[in-house]
Symmetry: C2
Subunit: 356 residues, 2 copies
């Protein structure tokens, strides 16, 4: 059995080991893929008629149409998309750029976009940027170069210059909260301040006074959540303790809790940060919500799988995706757009209320 790195030629079926290398033949490279000219010849009509019939154009007799369709079927005709797009000037395709496939938050947004796009008869081309600014930039460029009719960027990592440059070449909508969104670019985001207030109000209603904030980035969304939380703390007359996960914040926070003088509850700027905190807390023998109540943001699948389940602020992701597509539709129709802000809600689980 041949071995190449971590790969073997044959799998776990012992009997297959004898035929270690399974050679397989490739089809001849599209030997004479039929064009409308071939179909026209076969159907005995002109290629204009074929084109019209195939597109369901009205100016074709029933008989011609039937003959064209039959011939196309028989020859296995498939239209050449490149040619069609070259001549029509429209690709019927939109590009969707997303920061990070691993972030479950993006997924439902993309689903929403896809659903709405399908209803509009548009195809969706996904590109993924892996939180890498340069890569995002390149993908955006390639998408526009490709000739998509518009782009939806599900990311807040794109700098204003990039957004502006891209939107000069194709209609563009951003889902998220980039630092600066230039004029002419559509935007959909959630109301981070409202979400933060939901989280703190929930904790306060449970009797918590010392509610800390744990963040892991300086992104505008995290800052907006932080600002609103601060206001709430100020309004309640409580000193606002803030921790940064990038700066040993989890450790410091838990140390404070252990010392008895720390917070009794934490609002984390997203679920992953919250999950990390929860895990560390449990590792140190602290119980949630008894020793520390925790609220996350995004209500990702993770929130339901953790134990205790994670109370989290939910964004209407599917609806946000659909809204983004709707905005792109407006732009494609030559109309203006306005920023849309979705209202978050709170999903309560056992990390704040035992037994939930």
């Amino acid at each position: 059995m041949t071995t190449t790195g971590t790969f073997r030629n044959v799998g776990d079926d012992p009997s297959a080991a004898r035929a270690a290398v399974v050679e397989r033949r490739v089809m001849p490279p599209e030997s004479a893929r039929p064009t409308i000219i071939d179909v026209a010849r076969a159907a005995g009509v002109s290629k204009s008629q074929v084109s019209a019939a195939l597109r369901g154009d009205s100016g074709v007799s029933g008989e011609s149409r039937d003959r064209v369709l039959a011939a196309a079927e028989r020859l296995g005709y498939r239209k050449n998309g490149w040619a069609q797009r070259l001549v029509s000037g429209r690709s019927q395709l939109i590009g969707v750029l997303l920061t990070d496939l691993r972030n479950a938050y993006h997924t439902d947004i993309v689903n929403g976009i896809e659903d709405a796009a399908a209803e509009a008869g548009l195809g969706v081309l996904l590109r993924h940027g892996r939180r890498d600014r340069a890569l995002l930039h390149r993908h955006l460029d390639e998408l526009v170069d490709l000739g998509v009719d518009g782009v939806i960027a599900v990311t807040s990592h794109l700098p204003p210059e990039d957004l502006a440059a891209a939107s000069a070449r194709a209609p563009m909508v951003v889902v998220g909260r980039p630092v600066g969104v230039p004029d002419g670019v559509g935007q959909v985001r959630n109301d981070d301040a409202a979400g933060a207030r939901l989280a703190t109000a929930h904790l306060q209603s449970l009797g918590h006074r010392r509610i800390a904030m744990l963040r892991g980035s300086d992104r505008p969304a995290a800052s907006a959540r932080r600002d609103a939380w601060r206001e709430e703390m100020a309004a309640a007359g409580v000193v606002a303790q803030e921790f940064d996960a990038r700066d040993r914040g989890v450790e410091r926070l838990l140390a404070a809790v252990g010392a008895g003088e720390g917070p009794t509850a934490v609002f984390a700027s997203n679920d992953r940060i919250a999950a990390g905190l929860l895990g560390e807390a449990l590792d140190r023998g602290l119980a949630a919500p008894e020793d520390l109540a925790v609220v996350g943001y995004d209500n990702t699948e993770l929130a339901g799988l953790l134990r205790p389940g994670l109370t989290s602020v939910d964004q209407p992701r599917g609806a946000m995706g659909r809204a983004a597509m709707a905005q792109l539709g407006e732009l494609l129709a030559g109309r203006g757009v306005q920023t849309e802000v979705a209202a978050p809600s709170l999903v309560v689980r056992a990390s704040t209320v035992a037994g939930r």
Copy 2:
């Protein structure tokens, strides 16, 4: 402030509330996007020269090249991809079809594909099928219709007919373990039996005898894992207890454990199933690994975030993605391919060894 469903026109910035509707103008629809003819005129050369210079062709004098490049830059020229692809017959694009964006397992595979594709100078177009057979079928069709040079399907949900039909139109590679992979289609998968043996051997080395299996599907991968586990149980002379999560398997398994006659360890067919089991077990006051040791499969991010951390079989996902792209490269070069099987490894965490 206007309200539409869950959407408001303006966000959480109170000062913006005054300008509730932010109208924005769109750019004129590509008013005279320059072509090579414009560049040729501006540079004072023929369009053949422009084309050659832009492509970095050798037969162009340094002076001409500089003038062309300068003119292109000045006019903001961008090549028309549709035209280029129509005439060249090659799109330099590959399609990647994946079952489910939410499954973290797919992500690293896609990253591997993207890395390898980028190195080969190919762009990647993602399509996502959401575990929906009809949708997967449609996406595959559209991808091929679009004119990509080849397709990598990261899914085991595609029936043999679909694979065969697609591979007749474009080179095709599958990552995963579909029921039947037709000749001419490349394949990359992991060694499920070896993974299952890794899991059971690990549990046995910890002293476990009654190791149950929990599965959640009838997919070939799950079956292969089950078969290998069964063999190990038979070799050890132990009765193999199998549970199906779709058939109240979690409940039954935990009831058996509670009654004292059940398994002391479980091998779950993937991490999500394992996470569900672990959560339910904790909810019932059972401790892992003391009352029940659990091993998952896929070593997803989830495994590290859970408490206790989930011991899991890891697949070299990045390498598998790269291997798929390499296979596609072979097919594109007109050469044959063979099934590649990646060797899994085990990542031990606290769900089997306390303190890890």
